[in-house]
């Protein structure tokens, strides 16, 4: 039985009866079960529900009805988004367990179910999407599938390592300062934070109200396009949702980048010697592939780089603090130490600091919009380092945050896709970040998908998951990739 690495391949197999949804989902359940203890993929697994859903999906194929865009595809849901199967924990002792069931399916979950998607379980997250793993709390430690002594990245940790290891073919993450794109980069898969307001975020525990995004994570940009087609679109339940028409993302994946103007910033100047040397080399190699595909490439420098990253941090800490302060006062010790001291740092910000952060975001929006007068796409590394080891993580105040290049785009709201672009010398994945104008996810996905026709990084599977060596052999030995 040949292995399906991507949603689009699996859909072809299902449509041509090469495999049934039941077999596909059973395979996913088996993989998830075998790796969960070692990788910390799941908070809760819904094996039986998944099997029932798979059977129902097969019935649709058997009846020859029009299959949904995700018909029979196994999917993991980050455990801060609600589903009917059970509770939502936010990987915390604090979250009221009755909150999730009272909501049932979040809008995004309902949309994936309506498209035939099969939910295999609730995946691990940083506590309330912000607290780094804490061994003193009764929750799984998410580990990087490429090296289990290292971090998956966060906060959509379990969705990241679950897709990479094959526990499911796609999943939902959330992104307030990079929590889709960082685990995607560190686990060697693709993930997109769409435009703010593109995907409704009701039914999700908030971190930063004006920064939060729900988005798809999967192996390939094409898979992200398939999932985004299902997820995108206005819903009145989300006060921030924008009522803008949703284009056909799949028909946009032409593979042809002729005439597309790409602006590149390696951001090395902001990271200094903290950065991994493989990052700039991998980015330059990736960009040369884009120019071979017809894109015209220029250099640019992101304006207000430090200030906009701070604006995101001030805003997310302050908004999270307003949400958490009643529980901080009554149950401080129940939180992970990194969550309470991280969100707790908001005590340092005055009301005026919060307002000023919103003024700086506006200045940033204006400056970024000016960049997009001359380019159609902006490309940077997703992060300048590979996944840190779990010991190095420490708390959220650590300097390593400077090597993450994601929260800039939460400040201004542009869509940002991360795709794998190679490995560090330590064989840890690196990601390329592809940013476009608001509501122009189509162009970003087109660039990512075209890049993935010419490269195979996204098909590399962690040795630990060991069952598919085909992709790894084609990449050559991983260790020499950094040359």
């Amino acid at each position: 039985m040949n292995e399906y690495l991507t949603i689009s391949d699996a859909l072809d197999g299902l449509r041509e009866n090469e495999i049934t949804a039941t077999e596909l989902v059973e395979k996913a359940i088996e993989t998830g079960k075998s790796l969960d203890d070692e990788l910390g993929i799941y908070i809760a697994r819904y094996d039986e529900h998944a099997r029932e859903a798979a059977a129902a999906a097969d019935a649709v194929y058997a009846a020859g009805d029009e299959p949904g865009l995700l018909q029979g595809i196994p999917l993991g849901i980050k455990d801060i988004i609600t589903t009917v199967e059970g509770e939502t924990t936010a990987q915390s002792l604090v979250l009221d367990r009755s909150w999730g069931p009272a909501i049932g399916d979040a809008v995004v979950v309902q949309r994936m179910r309506d498209a035939g998607g099969v939910i295999t379980g609730k995946t691990t997250t940083m506590e309330y999407a912000i607290g780094v793993p804490d061994w003193t709390k009764p929750f799984p430690i998410p580990r990087n599938p490429w090296n289990t002594e290292h971090w998956t990245g966060g906060s959509s940790s379990g969705t990241g390592n679950g897709v990479a290891a094959g526990a499911f073919l796609g999943g939902l993450g959330t992104d307030t300062g990079g929590s889709i794109r960082i685990p995607a980069a560190y686990c060697g898969i693709s993930g997109i934070k769409a435009t703010f307001g593109r995907v409704p975020k009701s039914g999700c525990v908030p971190l930063g109200y004006s920064l939060d995004h729900i988005g798809p994570m999967a192996r390939s940009a094409r898979d992200c396009a398939i999932m985004l087609q299902v997820l995108a679109g206005y819903d009145p339940s989300d006060a921030c949702a924008v009522d803008a028409p949703v284009p056909d993302y799949l028909s946009g994946l032409t593979g042809d980048l002729t005439g597309l103007r790409v602006g590149v910033d390696t951001l090395a100047q902001h990271v200094g010697d903290d950065g991994d040397p493989a990052t700039v080399a991998a980015l330059q190699a990736a960009v040369s592939v884009l120019s071979e595909l017809g894109a015209t490439v220029t250099e640019l420098a992101l304006p207000y780089y430090a200030e906009l990253n701070v604006a995101t941090r001030v805003t997310s800490r302050s908004e999270a603090f307003a949400y958490h302060v009643p529980d901080f006062r009554s149950r401080w010790g129940d939180y992970f130490q990194s969550t309470r001291t991280g969100v707790g740092s908001a005590v340092a910000f005055t009301g005026a600091d919060f307002v000023q952060a919103q003024r700086v975001r506006r200045v940033g929006q204006k400056a970024v919009a000016a960049l997009f007068a001359d380019v159609d796409v902006i490309v940077t590394p997703t992060a300048s380092i590979g996944a840190l080891s779990l010991e190095e993580l420490g708390d959220l105040g650590g300097g390593w945050f400077r090597s993450m290049h994601t929260s800039y785009w939460n400040a201004v709201g542009n869509p940002a896709l991360s795709v794998p672009m190679g490995f560090t010398a330590a064989a840890l994945p690196l990601g390329m970040q592809i940013v476009t104008r608001p509501f122009d996810e189509a162009t970003g996905l087109k660039v990512g998908e075209a890049y993935q026709r010419a490269t195979r990084w996204h098909l590399a599977v962690p040795p630990l998951a060991g069952r598919y060596d085909v992709a790894v052999r084609d990449q050559g030995d991983l260790t020499d990739t950094a040359a």
Partner: protein, 470 residues
């Protein structure tokens, strides 16, 4: 004071049937201003020559059959935090950069200019639109023309005094927590705080970015409608402007309020121990008159009204503090004695408080929206009491006194202050009519319906004594 032209509407008719001209009206107002401004402190700067030129141009245009509408040739007062070409903007402060808005019109002023309006001058304002007047800063101190020992309220003090004392036929104020409705209430005329986004607020020194509004101030609701027709409408220069069509407001004041549902929110607005009994009685009296015209009124419970007042204040001072922060650090004593401690309160609220105030704002806005499913308008007193004695007012006292206006900046709703009588001490009393988003026509219609059967708004303060003393 020319008894003939109390309102914009009357003056517009008189200018078109030849009984008077814009120049005549403008000259009379300029003379009256020259006499009374020293005692009343309505204007920071009177632009007399420019006003007369504008008046002459208005008359000439009318003579040539060019009619831009009822505002043509009408003398107006412009609050001195709104940019107007003829004069610098001071915000009644030594701190504002003299180059700010120099030689430019705010979009709202440009619209009035295009409609042929005459600008008498820049009206006094509380410094940067908050706090109390500071005699040491060299700006005119505004006084209530009904009793000069009492406050004309703020922050659009000068415009309120000018409209009440006949130093202009109308004007512009700004309102972040009640700064149009407060002066209208204590000076005995009509003042409208518009829906957030209804009138572009670019070209205005900000106080609370997410609360500010520019509003018309005039004797009557009808005059406010004439002004609003010209002021309202989307403008790309204001990121908060709402792209919503502008109806002909003056044509919608039908006087017919049969079946109108009026909600009277309790307990905060009608049972507060600091609510002046005469104010309450006058407001309920006016409501009764509206009921006699066919409306229905009913009390209803509106919780958290006190918290809503605090939320408005917290958001206002946090937003204002962000704007003023560097000047407060470097030029603390250049600010007025009451302005700086009020602004500095922004430093005592945390970022979490501001984020929480915005969450409370969403919850309370939904609460009010639910009430508006049942009622067409709400009515409350415009303020708990008539004009206070100026000497008794302090920054700290204001923390203690209830405020009935900030709630409607917090929720972004239209609200008009309407004269409903006088206290035994001879000070104006006022009711506030609040409506749904973009329902300015409804609140003005209710005010106009009352003003068709009462003439409180036409009462003129006894300024003869002041004139005699001048």
């Amino acid at each position: 004071m020319s008894e003939k032209y109390l309102t914009i509407a009357d003056a517009a008719v008189a200018m078109r049937d030849g009984t008077t001209t814009s120049v005549a009206i403008t000259q009379e107002i300029l003379d009256r201003t020259a006499t009374l401004n020293p005692a009343l402190g309505a204007y920071v700067e009177v632009t007399a020559d420019a006003a007369l030129e504008q008046a002459a141009a208005a008359d000439a245009a009318l003579a040539d059959g060019i009619d831009h509408g009822p505002l043509q040739g009408i003398p107006l007062a412009i609050k001195d935090i709104i940019a107007m070409r003829e004069a610098p903007t001071t915000a009644n402060s030594r701190v504002l950069d003299p180059e700010w808005g120099k030689g430019t019109d705010a979009p709202v002023v440009a619209r009035l200019r295009a409609a042929g309006a005459v600008f008498v001058g820049k009206a006094t304002t509380s410094e940067f639109a908050l706090g109390l007047p500071d005699p040491d800063k060299g700006f005119p101190i505004p006084h209530n023309p009904w009793n000069v020992a009492h406050t004309p309220a703020g922050s659009s003090s000068g415009t309120g005094v000018a409209v009440s004392a006949g130093l202009a036929l109308g004007g512009l104020g700004t309102d972040t927590g009640g700064s149009v409705r407060g002066p209208a209430s204590v000076n005995g005329h009509t003042g409208l705080k518009v829906t957030f986004g209804r009138v572009p607020k670019s070209g205005v020194v900000p106080l609370g970015f997410s609360l500010d509004s520019i509003g018309p101030m005039a004797r009557s609701a009808y005059d406010c409608a004439l002004l609003l027709e010209v002021m309202a409408g989307y403008d790309a220069s204001d990121p908060n402007a709402a792209d919503v069509p502008v109806p002909k407001y003056s044509e919608l004041l039908s006087g017919d309020i049969a079946g109108l549902e009026i909600g009277l929110p309790i307990p905060y607005f009608f049972e507060h121990e600091k609510l002046d009994p005469e104010m309450k009685e006058a407001v309920l009296g006016a409501v009764k008159q509206l009921v006699d015209l066919g409306a229905r009124s009913e009390e209803f419970e509106l919780p958290y009204a006190n918290e809503a007042k605090d939320a408005n204040h917290i958001i206002m001072v946090a937003e204002a503090y962000a704007y003023h922060r560097n000047d407060l650090v470097n030029r603390w004593t250049d600010y007025g004695y009451a302005t700086r401690p009020t602004l500095a309160r922004g430093a005592f609220y945390t970022a979490g408080d501001v984020a929480q105030a915005q969450r409370f704002r969403m919850m309370w806005s939904r609460l009010v929206a639910r009430a508006f499913e049942k009622y067409d308008v709400m009515i409350t007193p415009s303020a708990p009491a008539p004009a206070e004695k100026a000497s008794e007012m302090t920054v700290s006292r204001r923390l203690l006194t209830p405020n009935y206006t900030g709630h409607w900046n917090l929720t972004g709703l239209p609200a008009v202050a309407v004269p409903v009588g006088f206290s035994t001490a001879g000070l104006p009393l006022s009711m506030q009519v609040i409506g749904k988003p973009f329902a300015e026509a409804t609140v003005l219609k209710v005010a106009d319906a009352l003003q068709r059967i009462t003439d409180w708004h036409l009462a003129v303060p006894p300024v003869e004594a002041l004139v005699a003393a001048a």
